[in-house]
């Protein structure tokens, strides 16, 4: 069963002009967000993206952008209270 989180919130963008079709994004994505269409990457399931940033960091062509971070409410609250960027996993 695939989990579903909120719709239409994810900041993931792919620039298909820059994409070289290496397939690295497909390899690192934990939620099967990408596929290959006509020898280039394509986003097929954007709402499944958890913005971990693995694809953007491992894209040799810098074709992917995403505002990466940890989806963690207590971390966000702590960050706001302390003014720091704390993550809940500690």
């Amino acid at each position: 069963m695939k989990y579903r989180y909120l719709k239409d919130v994810v900041t993931l963008e792919l620039d298909r002009h820059k994409c070289t079709g290496c397939g690295m994004c497909i390899e690192v994505c934990p939620h099967e967000v990408f596929t290959v269409e006509s020898r280039k990457a394509a986003i097929v399931d954007k709402d499944s993206c958890m913005e971990c940033g693995a694809c953007a960091r491992n894209c040799p062509a810098s074709a992917i952008s995403v505002r990466a971070g940890v989806g963690c409410a207590s971390g966000i609250i702590r960050g706001r209270l302390n003014g720091s960027n704390e993550c809940c996993c500690e």
């Binding site: 499944s48 990466a68 940890v70």
Partner: protein, 373 residues
């Protein structure tokens, strides 16, 4: 003095870089009593500690304690190179974090395999969280390759990284800076044998993060452990209020509604996560909290013979759902599929509801206490 030696390995890179052979010896001094080191692998570039692929009682107890938040921030091993089986210069190199539970979950899957384990200094944090923070990162991979003289230990130039390390590591940059090619392995260490047998190929199933019932349940103790201080404060507040004559909790019977709301947010929502309708975690918690509040109302305040005692009934409806909603919302951090943007949106909508409802409940409670209605 294990602590001292450990900090030598983890924080002062200078003391290890110059003399790579001492990295492993330090670990031997630190961990020789722990039982998971079984000997040494001799290599031309120096000896490497051989580790067991079986977890002993102490390893299992250590994991259990970490799950409950006991010694969790200091549950780490020395970074460096380790061996399992009889590794040679052709054996694969598996990269892991120096959180002991990460290391244990890797080595227990390696029975019958000859391999090297390159442990990065992630400050005792697991692979995924460390990758998110950047300590399981490109810089540390490149640094650790040099620190352990990896190019003198193995003849190939490949590293197998856990896929969940990918948010912190840029494979192409590691290659540029070290000459080692990063291959992302499966998400779960239990798939490693099949991955290696298939010639380092992961199936889509091995690449997908799962969040099964058992995966969710093991995360619930820490959710409860996080409540120890808030709970202590709450109990102190109740005692002070009782001393002041404000008695709204006198017995276990009065405590039950709150204990249930906490349990729903911390345990029941995580356990039933995929089956509770809706998407936002706070909503899932609020929904079950509301059902609980109605149940409590039916049991406690609704006497069939008499009329509904509307004050307490309304109070429970206002106070219990937001407790469950807030705690359920905190489980977003433990889940494997919530995005930062999504959680921010969820908080924008739900925090005002949670604060508003709980605030209204507290105002109602005090009004009833002081105005005696």
């Amino acid at each position: 003095m294990p602590e001292k030696n450990m900090s030598c390995n983890t924080t002062s890179s200078q003391c290890c870089c110059g003399q790579s052979n001492t990295v492993e010896e330090n670990n031997l001094l630190d961990e020789s009593n722990a039982g998971w080191i079984t000997g040494k692998v001799l290599t031309p570039a120096g000896d490497v500690l051989r580790v067991s692929t079986r977890l002993n009682a102490r390893d299992i107890l250590g994991s259990w304690k970490a799950r409950w938040g006991i010694n969790r921030h200091n549950y780490k091993i020395g970074p460096g190179l380790y061996g399992v089986g009889d590794p040679t210069d052709h054996s694969p190199v598996l990269v892991s974090a120096n959180y002991k539970m990460s290391f244990d979950s890797l080595r227990k899957e390696l029975a019958g395999i000859d391999a090297w384990i390159l442990v990065l200094d992630t400050k005792g944090i697991n692979v995924w969280c460390a990758a998110g923070k950047g300590t399981f990162g490109t810089g540390e991979v490149v640094h650790r390759i040099k620190a352990v003289d990896l190019d003198r230990r193995v003849s190939h130039r490949k590293l197998i990284l856990p896929q969940l390390g990918a948010p912190g590591v840029a494979a192409h940059e590691v290659f540029k800076k070290s000459g080692f090619r990063v291959i992302y392995g499966p998400v779960r260490a239990s798939d490693l044998k099949a991955f290696i047998a298939e010639g380092m190929k992961a199936t889509p199933d091995m690449r997908a993060v799962k969040f099964r019932f058992a995966d969710r349940i093991v995360l619930t103790p820490i959710e409860l452990a996080h409540l120890i201080w808030p709970l202590a404060i709450a109990i102190a507040a109740i005692i002070i209020m009782n001393l002041l004559g404000i008695r709204f909790i006198n017995s276990f019977h009065d405590l039950m509604p709150y204990a249930g709301a906490v349990l729903i947010g911390c345990v029941i929502v995580p356990a039933l996560l995929p089956w509770i309708p809706g998407r936002a975690f706070a909503w899932k918690g609020w929904l079950l909290g509301l059902i609980w509040a109605l149940l409590i109302d039916a049991l406690y305040t609704w006497n069939l013979a008499a009329s509904i005692s509307w004050g307490p009934a309304l109070f429970y409806l206002l106070i219990l759902p937001p407790i469950s909603a807030y705690l359920a919302m905190n489980f977003t951090g433990s889940s494997t599929y919530t995005s930062l943007s999504g959680v921010k949106k969820e908080m924008r909508i739900w925090l005002p509801i949670i604060i508003g409802s709980a605030g209204a409940g507290i105002v109602l409670m005090f009004s009833r206490l002081f105005l005696k209605f």
